[in-house]
Symmetry: C2
Subunit: 241 residues, 2 copies
């Protein structure tokens, strides 16, 4: 049986210390970017183009693309819609290419681009993702997008959730303290996830802006079988790679 390493990186600012060019990097931004991306694929989006700067997103809008873009939770004025997973409905995304730019998530996707592969993780595609990873037989780094380079709870507890599936497969081992701590957090809270999320800073940020209606959706396991993959600067379904 292979003995693959599993690491959890708690912030983009720590990625250099975990980096491994041979690894598949799972980018996690539960509230809300990676949950929204997974929901877009569940609803039939063709391609998502993640762009880091809001200026780039504006230029793409001028070129005729459909653009989803937010900063600090708020939809940017020129965008077609913001960052709620509910915006990525069948009606809005099916068969389309969407340009996407968010506060933390899209920047984090680009950060990992030099590794073997970058995939998108969330509670809503967890089972499909863990099965996909196990089939690849590669080292895995779970990269939490955090909040402006700070640690956050919602991404970390999902890291623990995915870590549990991978470690339970028997293919992976970890001597990474972040993996051990997030696995503990997941085991402590998995039957009461909403209570944990109700303590975290992003929950209050979303609530203040009236954007917290999507939280229960973002915590719901296994709503889609698709693993979005970042390849050649765009995100596509693993079924089309």
């Amino acid at each position: 049986m292979p003995n693959l390493t599993l690491e959890v990186c708690l912030s983009p600012a720590l990625f250099d210390y975990h980096k491994n060019e041979d690894a598949i990097v799972v980018v996690v931004d539960i509230l809300r970017a990676t949950s929204s991306i997974c929901n877009a694929f569940a609803n039939g989006v063709d391609t998502i183009i993640p762009v880091e700067s809001s200026e780039m997103a504006r230029q793409m809008k001028e070129k005729g693309y459909t653009v989803a873009a937010e900063r600090n939770g708020y939809k940017l004025d020129f965008a077609d819609f913001g960052n709620s997973p509910f915006n990525f409905s069948k009606e809005n995304v099916e068969g389309k290419t969407i340009v996407y730019s968010t506060t933390n998530g899209t920047r984090t996707i680009h950060l990992a681009a030099s590794c073997f592969q970058v995939v998108i993780g969330s509670f809503i595609n967890n089972k499909a993702l863990s099965n996909y990873l196990i089939a690849q037989q590669k080292p895995v780094i779970i990269l939490c997008a955090g909040w402006k380079n700070k640690f956050n709870i919602e991404d970390s507890v999902y890291a623990g959730c995915l870590a549990e599936s991978l470690l339970d497969s028997g293919l992976y081992s970890s001597n990474c303290d972040s993996a051990i701590a997030t696995l503990d957090m997941w085991k402590q809270w998995k039957n009461n996830l909403r209570e944990l999320i109700d303590k975290c800073a992003q929950r209050y940020r979303l609530q203040e802006k009236g954007l917290d209606d999507c939280i229960d959706f973002c915590l719901k396991l296994d709503q889609t079988d698709i693993v979005p993959i970042f390849k050649n600067d765009v995100i596509i379904s693993h079924l089309k790679q």
Copy 2:
């Protein structure tokens, strides 16, 4: 009642995102630098001079100082002793000035130097430290030294321990996810701390080198009433500031 902010910073590489010039920064490196520093003061050391580079430590040795210095757990060849708290015995340190250089801890102390004050935290001076902090009525940042900029469990769980005392005082509040998560970790493990530590990477690093004899000592609450303070490039007892 004042409402002072409490933040926990999980790695020196994240300090810029938590930094607050008005805060007292508590540097934590449980295995072993800050436990050793606290034990040195318990045993009557006069002054500790933390130096970042091993070259600087060597130069201080040539000038006639007593030097404690390690890298990756191992005592440096020119040093009088290494980084075990047991080295900082009454016989070795009483009344002396000690030059001290370690893998993570001493670098982290210098990192925080531009803030209002830097103090040294560990389980062994926890009660004295929390009383001292509460008396200062300043914002607090608990800064975990980690391991080569990665998150570690032992510093984080102590951050949760200190956070509990400060939050229970009613003077502090926190909307920092790292504070919430480390407090949870402490509450989950405080009656079984050794079991948690036995899962962490630094425990194995020390064990491989035969340096794990000090772990129980480093986890023992309230062995000294002294709060070491970093001031004008040296560490002194709070009683002498």
